[in-house]
Amino acid sequence: MKLVHKDIEKDNAGQVTLIPEEAEDMWHTYNLLQVGDSLRASTIRKVQTESSTGSVGSSRVRTTLTLCVETIDFDSQACQLRVKGTNIQENQYVKMGAYHTIELELNRKFTLAKKVWDSVVLDRIEQACDPAQKADVAAVVMQEGLANLVLVTPAMTLLRAKVEVTIPRKRKGSCTQHDKALERFYEAVMQGILRHFSFDVVKCILVASPGFVKDQFISYLFKEAVRQDCKILLENRSKFMVVHSSSGHKYSLKEVLCDPAVTARLSDTKAAGEVKAFEDFYKMLQQEPDRAFYGLAHVERASEALAVDILLISDKLFRHQDIATRSRYVRLVDNVKENGGNVRIFSSLHVSGDQLNQLSGVAAILRFPIADVSEAEEDSSSDED
């Protein structure tokens, strides 16, 4: 994301102008927007025109609108952001107060104005505009009959395709059905790779599986590549890397990213860093349970006692539209930072962020143990049934 103009004072009103450059920037923008903000961007509006003869026609016009944001929609598969709101600035095509949905486009600037800019949002802008190298990793996590094709960027893990095929087992005297089905499965996975992974962006392609499936698949892949003379695969052969995983399900991606061979190859993967922080939390929970807390109430108490060393918090909490709750989380983050603690914001689209969400979204590793006087009765976690 490119920063064009910034006019902000911390905890005061202000505005910022940005240009999203890639899909991930849409995700960052999604995390910046709040209901009640004002967004100014170029968009297309269908306008009713009435000609002099009285006949009505409609045409599509490109204009710049400023909206007061009411609803925000993010499509993670297509990485598209749609913002609906009411018009708050005079415009020759759109009345004041009229509704419009802006679909933010890549490489077109937009201006975002807020009443209050807190630290979390400012951090995200920094993060989004950081021109440091971004590693894009593609991974195929598979087992016999199941494959998940995943794209891992610093802030998102996107499931690009899922291949699921029933493969008949070997039976006494007849293995041909098994072998044929296996070949069909590999073919489908190969097609998935060719279709969903763009080789110029992706730095590395991991193929992970339990057992020998990955080796079988790689040999099939390159045998076919040679046979069909598929240049793109042959040129990018060095990008493929074989790793062990315990299953073909999506969450096995965590293990793959932790594998030392993988981390050595990839310089910066934010995803792997998040996974490591999460594993550390679990280790602490096992060894010294009084130094590992999760759940908002518990962590807040720990923070008041100035005990938080590392705070793990999911970005889902900051997309909370209720301002009071959101500011509560922001206060927590600020508190921890003021007291010399580290804050790690997890992306909900990553596997570890997903798991953190299940665990209430906020967890902390403390500097010293605090007696767990938790009463099960006043547990704040939701109890839907």
Binding site: R169, K170, Q216, S247, H249, L359, A376, D379
Partner: protein, 496 residues
């Protein structure tokens, strides 16, 4: 319709009943007697036993059983000769016997069993369905499917110096397999202490292994009286089908050979009278219309022409043919491992893990259920939202532990703590599990065999459990049970 089916079914089995009895209870009990008689007749007095062979990788399971089958005459001499030639050519001469059960090219190339190899043989008093399970850690999911269908097990350990230790220590599979097979309900175990020829049939070595294993198996829940230890050599064939004459062994060992021990297993009680349940372990297209599913009948019985319901897809189909060990049959009952040819359904809808059941007393499918679990030696503590892999019968489905309900006392079962923060190793707990897709399952109290499951995480088994309550979205078919009972009571009055 409900009532239309029952009369014809009970009449088909029940030619000599006086009054037409569409009532499930009485009709079924008459059938139950008949079906048991039929079962006895068919097997010539030999009950069926499902045996799984487990153990650490390279303990020699496939070679042991392959050689046993050959000695029993189940493998053609010419075929055996072919295996010997080919394996020698491939540089794997010692694997010749294993090739009887490892049939895929991949397995032979790598010298590893990857999926359960199934075959059958007969002993003096039993008919055995043999399942040779893979020992490698990565293939445990396949091994679980095989073990879930077994009644008894043979645990193979390698007696060679250092090998037994490697399999028995933390990273080896001897322990995990033993635990798994016990958690899946197997109570009788024969331990084949294999490769004894490598240690010259040394008694001390045998005794040492027996004492170490015995201690562990007892902790795992096996009764000492139900575990038997047999010294064997799979490669040379000693002590497999006949008592060995090797002097080094007969000097101190007077017990039975492996085959005799397998013959001595007590066959389990089959619930033929319960509603029909079959867990699908394989789906494939055969010649002719329709397609085939393979699986073990866990309860009840089935005849050609019967309509069955598949859950969770909630689709019905008709059974066109039944095959047991390559023999076509008209009916099959609980305990049989059969192939059913079915018509009237799209093959796409069925996958491994579906359960075929009686449409009138169907199994429930749900995405959320409550269970009592026992945690094994886990490294990471379990918290709310923990992702696991649920292994239930032939199903393996990703799931999360939605809620930690309570921690229970290990022996008394009373609640020690409600809503715990996390669970650690060795604890007994009640949890709520949520699966991504619906799973068909039964409560443990209704069907012992169908109420157990395992939880795995990152390649190791972390817990075993039993289903106590089904919650969340279930889509049970129309509760026909109530109608049938009403129907039956009406008929009872008339009959009496």
């Amino acid at each position: 319709g409900v009532s239309a089916e029952t009369p014809s079914k009970s009449l088909a089995m029940n030619e000599d009943s006086a009054a037409p009895t569409p009532t499930r209870p009485t009709g079924k009990s008459k059938q139950q007697l008949n079906i048991r008689a039929e079962l006895e007749k068919r097997q010539g007095g030999k009950p069926l036993l499902n045996l799984v062979v487990i153990g650490h990788v390279d303990a020699g399971k496939s070679t042991l059983m392959g050689h046993l089958l050959y000695l029993l005459g189940n493998v053609n001499k010419r075929t055996m000769h072919k295996y010997e030639q080919e394996s020698k050519k491939a540089g794997k001469a010692s694997f010749a016997y294993a090739w009887v059960l490892d049939e895929t090219g991949e397995e032979r190339d790598r010298g590893v069993t990857m999926d359960v190899g199934m075959t059958k043989f007969e002993t003096d008093s039993k008919v055995i369905t043999l399942m040779d399970a893979p020992g490698h850690k990565d293939f445990i999911p396949n091994m679980i499917t095989g073990a879930a269908q077994a009644d008894v097990a043979v645990l193979v350990v390698d007696a060679s110096r250092g090998e037994f230790e490697a399999g028995f220590e933390a990273g080896g599979q001897t322990r995990e397999h033993g635990l798994l097979v016990r958690s899946l309900g197997v109570t009788q175990l024969a331990v084949a202490v294999n490769k004894m020829d490598q240690v010259n049939w040394y008694q001390e070595r045998f005794r040492d292994i027996v004492s170490k294993l015995g201690h562990f198996l007892k902790q795992a829940g096996f009764k000492d009286s139900d575990v038997f230890y047999i010294p064997t050599s799979g490669l040379s064939g000693e002590n497999l089908t006949t008592r060995s004459k090797v002097a080094d062994l007969t000097a101190w060992y007077t017990g039975p050979c492996l085959l005799e021990q397998i013959d001595a297993f007590k066959p389990p009680q089959r619930s033929v009278e319960k509603p029909f349940r079959l867990c699908v372990s394989d789906v494939f297209k055969d010649q002719g219309s329709g397609f085939c599913v393979t699986g073990k009948i866990e309860a009840g019985f089935i005849q050609t022409g019967d309509k069955v319901l598949a859950m969770p897809p909630n689709e019905t189909c008709t059974v066109k043919g039944i095959t047991l060990h390559d023999e076509a049959l008209d009916w099959a009952a609980a305990g049989d491992h059969v192939s059913l040819t079915v018509t009237g359904m799209d093959i796409i809808k069925i996958n491994v893990g579906c359960i075929f059941c009686d449409p009138k007393e169907a199994i429930r499918a749900c995405t959320r259920f409550r269970a009592r679990i026992l945690l094994f030696n886990i490294e990471v503590p379990i918290t709310q939202g923990f992702p696991v892999l649920l292994h239930y019968q032939t199903v393996s489905e990703p799931a999360t532990i939605r809620k930690l309900v309570s921690v229970l006392h290990k022996s008394s079962g009373e609640v020690l703590k409600k809503k715990p923060k996390c669970l650690s190793k060795g604890q007994n707990a009640v949890v709520e599990i949520q699966t991504q897709r619906p799973v068909a399952l039964e409560l443990y109290k209704d069907y012992k065999e169908l109420g157990r499951f395992m939880l795995r995480y990152v390649g190791s088994t972390i817990a075993a459990g039993v289903v106590t309550e089904v919650k969340g979205s279930t889509y049970p078919p129309f509760p026909t049970k109530h109608i049938v009972i009403l129907y039956s009571s009406a008929f009872f009055d008339i009959a009496s």
